[in-house]
């Protein structure tokens, strides 16, 4: 029973991690209608920057700060140079162009940082564990990720629903001309939104750095999961991304933790292990299929994008 | 209740978008062969009403009966099979297809057999010949091989009508067929519609009052989603309520 609680906590933590990535992706899609496969590249840039700056300065916080700045900047540069031309294009062009960006960024990273994975450690202050569930010391750092994820969710909620920028964002999503008529500089708005999306990816990368391997290709690895999250939540919906991320995090974690055991109740050990782990690796895809059968537009469909 | 022989009955149709009531308890009865016009100021809910009859929007409440079937919950294609066809207020064609292909596809939609994957549809006389006739009838003879996107605006409107007619409908829903047309084109379309009168039952949504009063057998006036009057053109012209609500502004 305690184990179940702990696994649920693990699932939530994984979910919040995915949320940080999914939020940026879905925000950019919701407002600019841009399908950005290169979101994972920004995540990678965040992790690499955090690792490099932390190693140089000795301060993790500086590393995270630098990662936020660099990814936001890289995002805005990419937006102004490449992505801006894609907003009015079909999704097909977007997929291909951002696919090309993945190639380019990966190779550049390999040239700049070399082939060996980088090192980034948890700062000493966050390194310990706390026993929030009796008998199961939980890493403080993972609790921090939950906290940051929740804060970002809250922050985005306030930003979108209660600020002038948020109002423009919401208006921009439904009606470009109207925003133009309000006198807002829509180009700048889009660049800023993209920068925000990139910054979130960078934050995810920097926070993931001490837990996960920092290597070329880390972005693509997690990108597919992020897509599943976004699709489940409803593309363009930040609310949906949060719910989707938590669902995926929980499903994946609980599936991995308990499926092989469940199979062992009915099968001999070897086939149970094989069947259990194979099934566990595709539970989230099954979840996605199941949800889409009932809700083809995801859990929180965004208005005005039918057939877009 | 109106005459039971009507081809289309709309009873108590309502549709809300959030706080906005787009269609408010609308009743409509169209007799076979009748040309019925639906008019009203901008935002009166004409297009919304047509969309519900055509099946693109689901009403919140009310009932639509067409040719003896209650079609309120039917999908579009089933309604089309029963003989409902529509044209769009904003031109809606297959822009890369030629004019002839556009109409041929409409003919094909009516004939079926769309799973045939081997014979060349561009050389199928069962599609091409009726399509060519419709183009001729609508004054597009000689424009067969022009891609729809390259036709003049007026021609596109004619093509749109040709496609609606090619599905061999019992009821035509025409949503502002004259929108954006020059006066010469409009005149031609009016005479065309007059020639169709009697053979087809038509629900016409139109802003051009000259056209409406020249063509319509009866007129329904819609304001804020509500039908405030339904009568012959002469009676509508004389109706005080209509004049104040709507026609007065337009100086009829």
């Amino acid at each position: 029973m305690l184990l179940l609680l702990e696994q649920i906590l693990n699932g939530l933590q994984f979910g919040f991690m995915l949320f940080l990535l999914a939020a940026g992706l879905t925000l950019v899609f919701g407002i600019m209608h841009l399908l950005n496969l290169a979101h994972g590249s920004l995540y990678m840039i965040g992790a690499y920057t955090a690792a490099t700056v932390t190693a140089a300065t000795g301060h993790f916080s500086l590393g995270v700060l630098a990662a936020l700045l660099v990814t936001a900047l890289a995002g805005m540069l990419l937006e102004a140079g490449v992505f801006r031309r894609l907003y009015q294009r079909e999704h097909l062009d977007q997929v291909l162009a951002t696919f090309a960006v993945i190639f380019t960024v990966n190779e550049l990273t390999r040239i700049l940082w070399g082939r060996a994975p980088l090192y980034l450690d948890i700062p000493p202050a966050l390194a310990g564990t706390i026993e929030i569930i009796p008998g199961a010391p939980y890493p403080v750092y993972r609790l921090l990720i939950i906290a940051v994820g929740a804060l970002v969710a809250l922050g985005l909620y306030v930003l979108i629903n209660h600020t002038r920028l948020g109002m423009l964002i919401r208006a921009g999503a439904s009606n470009r001309e109207m925003v133009g008529a309000l006198g807002a500089n829509i180009k700048l708005l889009y660049t800023l939104v993209f920068g925000l999306g990139a910054l979130l990816a960078g934050l995810a990368g920097a926070l993931a750095g001490p837990i996960l391997a920092i290597e070329v290709g880390m972005g693509e690895n997690i990108l597919i999961l992020t897509f599943v999250v976004v699709v489940i939540g409803g593309i363009g919906s930040v609310r949906g991304a949060l719910l989707g991320a938590l669902l995926v995090g929980l499903t994946d974690t609980l599936g991995r933790a308990f499926l092989p055991g469940l199979f062992a109740l009915v099968l001999p050990p070897a086939p149970a292990t094989a069947a259990g782990s194979s099934l566990a690796s595709i539970t989230i895809y099954l979840l996605m299929v199941l949800i889409l059968v009932f809700r083809p537009q995801g859990l929180f469909p965004v208005q005005g994008q039918h057939g877009a | 209740m109106a005459e039971p022989a009507a081809l289309l009955h709309v009873e108590g149709l309502s549709k809300h978008f959030g706080a906005v009531t787009a269609t408010d308890n609308l009743n409509l009865h169209i007799a076979p062969g009748e040309l019925h016009a639906l008019i009203g100021p901008n935002g009166a809910g004409k297009t919304t009403a047509v969309a519900q009859i055509a099946g693109e929007l689901r009403p919140d409440s009310g009932q639509i009966v067409f040719a003896g079937h209650t079609i309120t919950d039917w999908p579009i294609q089933r309604r089309v099979k029963l003989g409902l066809a529509r044209s769009y207020q904003i031109t809606s064609l297959f822009p890369q297809f030629t004019a002839l292909d556009n109409v041929a596809l409409a003919v094909q939609a009516h004939q079926g057999h769309s799973l045939r994957a081997w014979r060349n549809a561009h050389r199928d006389p069962r599609l091409r010949e009726p399509a060519r006739l419709w183009l001729e009838k609508l004054g597009l003879a000689g424009r067969d091989e022009i891609p729809a996107a390259e036709l003049a605006h007026g021609e596109q409107r004619q093509l749109e009508l040709a496609m609606a007619l090619a599905t061999n409908p019992r009821l035509l829903l025409l949503d502002e067929p004259m929108a954006g047309m020059g006066s010469e084109d409009s005149q031609r379309l009016i005479s065309l519609l007059r020639s169709l009168k009697g053979d087809y039952t038509i629900l016409l949504v139109e802003h051009d009052m000259d056209a409406v009063f020249a063509l319509a057998d009866r007129i329904t006036v819609l304001v804020y989603g509500q039908a405030i009057a339904c009568d012959t053109p002469q009676a509508i012209r004389a109706n005080e309520q209509v004049r104040t609500a709507y026609l007065g502004e337009q100086d009829v």
Binding site: L3, E6, Q7, N10, G11, Q13, F14, M17, N106, E107, R110, G114, R115, A116, P117, L118, Y119, D121, I122, A127, G128, T129, A136, P137, P139, Y141, R142, A208, P210, I211, L212, A213, I214, E215, V216, G217, M218, N221, I222, T253, L254, R256, A257, P260, P269, T273, A274, S277, S278, A280, S281 | -
Partner: protein, 387 residues
């Protein structure tokens, strides 16, 4: 008359000199892009070092190294191998890192008469029933290091073990290899998704099971993730962790950090191995590339030396396939592993050592040999090979 004979002799000599001067081409197909590309880089760099130290020769025979990146895509590997073989006429190849690329390339290549000397990839199929006279493995058989860990964990006296690997063939082989030599109980055998990032669920299950030891096989980035998260979860001080040397090469250790400090792992080589020539190799490698060679570098270097010994025996004429094969099988070269010999399936029979991750003088992490687990270890598939 005398003059004619003399000039004819001179011509003959100059011709034969020219024949020798034409360098033997060696194809090195390896992974230089994608995850795990630092393994390919190490193999390539060490191979180049061997040629440089021979001043452009291997075994005294001039060679030309043709390097190409397979991008960890089997189809690309097949294509490169085909081109090297057919268009460039290359008869000796090496360098493939990953089993899936090797399985795509090697069987066809050697059936077609070319020689393949593996510097890393060693799938079990090629060691057993799929063994071939033209295929030599200068590194190991994949299971060797796992088997050694099974033996080690038994020797230490842990009564039970919790074992994990990714859900793919090398992972299944790894745990089978461990179990082959482990005498205690298996608490659980867990297969995780390939390229899994987060191991929180598995770690919680380990804590709940409370085993005496944990053995894991997680190549590349997965290993970094797992070792770090293991330490972060506070498990490292409670349950000792064991793994094969793959997850503890010096370049990965730099990325894992202190989470790996003290962990015992297995390898057939280490930089501090006290055998003739090893110190010189390590020094030369550090000098050339500014980093400590990993076990992959040592394998690349040995593969080069092995090829050199073969080339020397046939004086660079690789069309003498039988003689070349005999020479390669003799493995008469100064291996940085010390004594080196092949078994019947042309995989090494070699010592396997226990290494411990310690702090190096420069403050970084490195491995240090702490004991020998196997001596003259023969892999488990040799018996299935009919050679």
């Amino acid at each position: 008359m005398k003059q004619i004979v003399l000039s004819a002799m001179l011509l003959a000599i100059s011709l034969s000199v020219m024949a020798v001067a034409e360098p033997v081409k060696i194809g090195l197909i390896t992974t230089l892009s994608g995850p795990g590309s630092h393994l390919g880089e190490d193999v390539r760099d060490a191979f180049r070092l061997a040629i440089e130290r021979g001043e452009g020769t291997l075994g005294g025979i001039p060679v030309e190294l043709v390097v190409e990146d397979d991008g960890l895509r089997p189809q690309t590997g097949v294509q490169i191998a085909e081109r090297m073989r057919e268009r460039d006429g290359i008869g000796i190849m090496t360098g493939i890192i990953f089993s899936n690329v090797a399985m795509a390339v090697v069987p066809r290549l050697v059936r077609g008469g070319a020689f393949y000397i593996s510097a890393n990839a060693a799938p079990s199929q090629l060691a057993g029933s799929g063994c071939h006279p033209n295929y030599f493995n200068a590194a190991y058989q994949n299971d060797n290091l796992h088997e050694a860990m099974g033996q080690y964990v038994t020797d230490v006296g842990h009564r039970n073990a919790y074992i994990l690997a990714p859900n793919y063939p090398a992972g299944h082989d790894a745990l089978a290899g461990f179990k082959r030599f482990y005498q205690g109980d298996i608490v659980a055998e867990v297969y995780t998704q390939l390229n899994q990032n987060d191991y929180a669920a598995e770690l919680a299950a380990i804590r709940a099971a409370n085993p005496e030891s944990v053995f894991f096989f997680k190549p590349g980035g997965m290993g970094i993730n797992f070792v770090r998260q293991y330490a972060q979860a506070g498990l490292k001080d409670r349950i000792p962790l064991y793994g094969p040397g793959f997850s503890f090469d010096e370049r990965l250790l730099a990325a894992v950090g202190d989470a790996a400090l003290g962990v015992i792992n297995s390898a057939q080589w280490n930089w501090d191995l006290d055998v003739p020539g090893n110190a010189e190799f390590v020094a030369a490698f550090r000098e050339a590339y500014g980093r400590t060679p990993t076990l992959y570098a040592a394998q690349g270097y040995d593969a080069a030396q092995l090829i050199g010994s073969g080339l020397a025996a046939v004086n660079g004429d690789i069309s003498r396939a039988d003689a070349l094969r005999t020479a390669l099988l003799a493995a008469d070269f100064p291996s940085v592993r010390g004594e080196f010999r092949f078994g019947n399936n042309q995989h090494p029979i070699q010592h396997i050592y226990a290494r411990q991750v310690v702090r190096a003088e420069n403050g970084g992490l490195t491995n240090q040999i702490v004991g020998q687990i196997f001596s003259d270890h023969v892999d488990a598939y040799a018996a299935e090979c009919s050679m």
